[in-house]
Amino acid sequence: MRAADAHRAILAVWRIEQPRLITSLARMLRDVPLAEELAQDALLAALERWPATGVPEKPGAWLMATAKHRALDHLRRSRMLERKHEMIAWDMEEEEQTMPDLDSALDDDIGDELLRLIFTACHPLLSREARAALALRMICGLTTEEIARAFLLSDATIAQRIVRAKRTLSESGLAYETPRGEELAERLASVLEVVYLIFNEGYAAACGQDWLRPQLCAEALRMGRVLTSIAPHEPEAHGLLALMELNASRAAARTDAAGEPILLLDQNRALWDQLQIRRGMQALGRARELGGARGFYALQAAIIACHAEARAAGNTDWPRIAGFYAELAALVRSPIIELNRAVAVSMAEGPVAGLAIVDCLMREPALKSYHLLPSVRGDLLRKLGRCDEARASFEAAAALAGNKREHDLLKRRAAEAADAAMSS
């Protein structure tokens, strides 16, 4: 086996074993950053040893034994060997007598531990970016290099982000526990926000060259599925999973052969992944059963579900979608949601009704440089036959568009509107 292949094979084993490793260490040490470091040490040991010896029959048990040795060494070296630590060390030496085997490894239900770990990695003390990096590292087992490539940043930037985040966690003296009651809602929101951020980062890059960027979608989905299985009574966790599954179901239909984006209504619906849609609808159903139909993520999922359920673009239930957008707008005041509502209303009731909402938004400072606002406005004006105004709107939108593809598309639409104005 070539060294690079061996390396990849070891990382793959690592990804499977890592959650149990890190949660077990965190439980013993009551210190997540330290647990993460020692788990990484065990990985390094495997990378050193396994290329020569081959992957052991029970790699999980090997990694666990190695990590526990490191933890013991650490505690022995530590000058602060308090009574508490002695107790832990004693417990661990006891445990060490019996080498963990694969069966007992499978017996460990790490659900609660993993939830605690996720809450720690996504603590609101940390910036969203830091939470995302830490979650990908500690929950998904991605390496610093993989995270850096996925976010199009340098290794050093991500490494520093992780080191700082871990330091913040260490210095904050956070209790390593699962939040309860009112705190739970706030902390869960902080987790879901990060998972969704990771998903969107991958989704925006679905046509990128590097497979690691779209891979972020898969990692976020994985985290969403983990969350719904270890916190099954949280409706918004199901709502977010539904939203991600339903959005991801369109991955194959979102771009053409040249990588150009295809708008939702123009997509070939035969390419939508029906297994994923079913999973999304199940998760949405679960969110609703739990009383979460009006949640931030569940409402967005409900909108996407309307599209997923329409066999053809023409069958889309726009009045229902406009209704969900109205509920969403009542829940969070966001000009972007309002703009989306305008589109849905225009589809449900006609361009005049949509334009009325868009014109109100033109005074919104937050959307001053948001290219989609004049782009939507241009589209509605074009439908109303007000071609000159439509052209001006598309020109304004093109000037604001951040990426070349969108800029070119808007320029083409401006030119088309200008032609239509000439010939009318």
Binding site: L11, R15, I16, L102, Q215, R222, R225, A251, L275, R279
Partner: protein, 118 residues
């Protein structure tokens, strides 16, 4: 990347209870980890049939098929980072068979799903 695991064996009869239990635990862990999307075991060949085309002619064959050597006993669908992860996962699954079903021989074949789309 999506992978399908197909388990084949010439062995007839149900696996020992310890293996069943271990496989359930493994499946449970894999579902909770968000990797396993779907799985299932298949009933013996006698419950099935084959529709074949040979020499341009359609024919229906009812089971059992005496010439069959390895028979598909079950499958699972995974969402994984890549082939290395699929190999690690399949190896873990087969190690359970090695440990808990002495004498059993068989294959776990893993195949990537063909990409859909343009």
């Amino acid at each position: 990347m999506k992978f399908m695991f197909i388990v084949k064996s010439a062995h007839v009869g149900p696996p020992p209870p310890q293996l069943m239990e271990a496989m359930h635990k493994l499946a449970d862990r894999e579902i909770k980890a968000g990797r396993m999307l779907d799985n299932g075991g298949l009933m013996p060949l006698a419950t099935g049939a084959q529709v074949r085309i040979i020499d341009g002619r359609l024919s229906v064959l009812d089971g059992p098929f005496v010439e069959a050597k390895e028979v598909i006993g079950g499958y699972a669908v995974f969402e994984l980072q890549g082939k290395e992860e699929a190999l690690a996962s399949a190896t873990e699954f087969m190690q359970l068979h090695k440990d808990l079903f002495p004498g059993w021989e068989g294959t776990c074949e893993l195949r990537a799903f063909a990409p859909t789309g343009p």
